[in-house]
Amino acid sequence: MEEILNINGLSKKYGRIQALNNFSLTVKRGEVWGILGPNGSGKTTTLGIILGAINCDQGNFTWFGQPISPVNLKRTGALLEHPNFYPYLSAEKNLELIAILRNVDSLEIERVLRFVNLYERRKHRFQTFSLGMKQRLAIASAMLGSPEVLILDEPTNGLDPTGIAEIRALISKLAAEGTTIILASHLLDEVQKVCSHAAVLSKGNNLFSGNVSEVLNQQDIIEVASENLTKLTEAISLYPGFSSCRTLPSHIEVVFTEKTDPALINTFLFEQGIVCSHLALRKKSLEKYYLELLNSKIAQKVK
């Protein structure tokens, strides 16, 4: 598939702080990338560099196979950090500025304003907006002219639960239409729900990058409960492929070295004379993987 963005060995220092260290990434058309990492891990620095707002110290990157230029930036729509608009201008006027700059038809302004539910407030000045509304206007601005690539830095920041759900639905919809999306977030749940790929950053170092579903399919967790948890633990430890087990007040969590079928486990336990009151297969969450990754040896070495 066509390469949209190719990042090659980017590094950036702010004084003595290494904000980004030899970061590489390739984004192909139609992929939805989540860039994960704690606050200050280099997410915004990365996005700032690829958008031409921040000068990098080392490395290079290409957009659509070409070096960065205002012309190819017009093919991308971006929301970087906070929503930045002229506070004294109305929502509509603020979008008009971007529309003029990007040669976008002014009819587009109405479309994107309706999309983010700000059409009724279009005549109001930006400074009268709540944080959530500002964020929605920034998303509308990035969407102006339906760019091929969307770059969203913490897009759900400051939004209420309904707003968050709307933005997620929007991202999924745009992704389904084939828009390439790069999303920076520290909300893992968000990335897990919408992204096909993820890169994990910690202190400027890339700890992982790859396919999200591959990561999540590696290991499954089985939740089991019965009347006697001690007996249950003893029994299940005999099951082939058993790896580890954690006892919780209401149930136990079992990890197996290979893929397992809950039905087989149920039969196995029943044969041992144990009746399950609860049995569930849980996918390992990205959050768990992420926390493991940050605490892993790679991350320790980085520190």
Partner: protein
């Protein structure tokens, strides 16, 4: 598609026309200029009257509204108020940093060069607007006080109008440079004032007089010489009647330096 100059002008005009602070400041400045021009004669005459109280022989009245001297009188006088538009320029430029809108425009596909071009265009247009206002005020007040000799309107002194434009443009570009360096409105204003009131004077103090005239504010101030009034003539002092080519060249060079410096800063800086 590359951004055209027309698009840049459209962006800047939307930003300014809808910015109440800007519109009010421009109107206030126009009012100040107009009031100053209207009271200029009585102001100058007062000084002359005071002089008459001592034992000096009576002086010929200094007619400020007389063609062609009015071109020089008005531009010279208005030049003393140019700190006001400089404040406006500093506010406009530092706003873009404060609101972080410069970054938004650049990541949306405006090149840094074209961003700077937009700002220099604003500097030029504000300079041009003020020049036109001063020229029209001079023409109208001059005609109003004219005693019948219209041939004096078009004299070499009319050249003070384009020279005034150069004076404003250079001065406002210096203000734009301060705004680009300091980024915060208050800080840039203070630094600019400090440079005006103290720093350049201190530098001038340590420089030989020949080089001193090449300092930016000095060169800008030298463009339009002090009008020769009968009072000065009495003391045997006479100032140049016209702008020196050397000062024009110095100012043009300064404009090139200021704009290059603004471009350089804009490219170096992380937004």
């Amino acid at each position: 598609m590359e951004t055209t100059f027309k698009q840049i002008l459209k962006l800047e005009s939307i930003k300014l026309i809808n910015y109440k602070t800007f519109v009010i400041l421009v109107l206030v400045f126009a009012a100040i200029l107009l009031l100053a021009f209207l009271s200029l004669q009585s102001f100058v005459s007062n000084i002359t009257v005071n002089q008459n109280n001592s034992n000096v022989p009576p002086l010929e009245l200094f007619k400020v509204y007389r063609f062609p001297d009015i071109w020089q009188n008005f531009t010279y006088f208005a030049g003393h108020l140019k700190i006001f538009p400089a404040f406006i320029i500093i506010i406009i430029i530092t706003n873009e940093f404060t609101f972080n809108t410069q970054r938004q425009l650049i990541i949306s596909g405006l090149s840094r060069n074209k961003y700077v071009l937009g700002k220099i265009s604003v500097v030029f247009m504000l300079s041009a607007l003020i020049t036109i206002f001063v020229a029209l005020s001079a023409l109208i007040l001059g005609l109003f006080h004219n005693t019948g000799d219209y041939s004096q309107i078009f004299s070499r002194k009319l050249l003070f109008i384009p020279v005034f434009l150069l004076e404003l443009f250079t001065y406002l570009n210096l203000a734009a440079l301060f705004a680009s360096i300091f980024r915060k409105t208050g800080l840039a204003l203070m630094a600019f004032l400090l440079y005006m009131i103290m720093i350049e004077r201190i530098i001038a103090f340590y420089l030989p007089e020949k080089i001193e005239t090449f300092l930016p504010l000095k060169a800008i101030a030298n463009l339009i010489p002090l009008p020769n009034s009968p009072l000065f003539q009495l003391f045997g002092v006479s100032f140049a009647e016209h702008t020196a080519v050397q000062d024009v060249i110095t100012c043009l060079v300064y404009n090139a330096i200021f704009i290059t410096a603004i471009l350089f800063i804009s490219h170096k800086r992380n937004l």
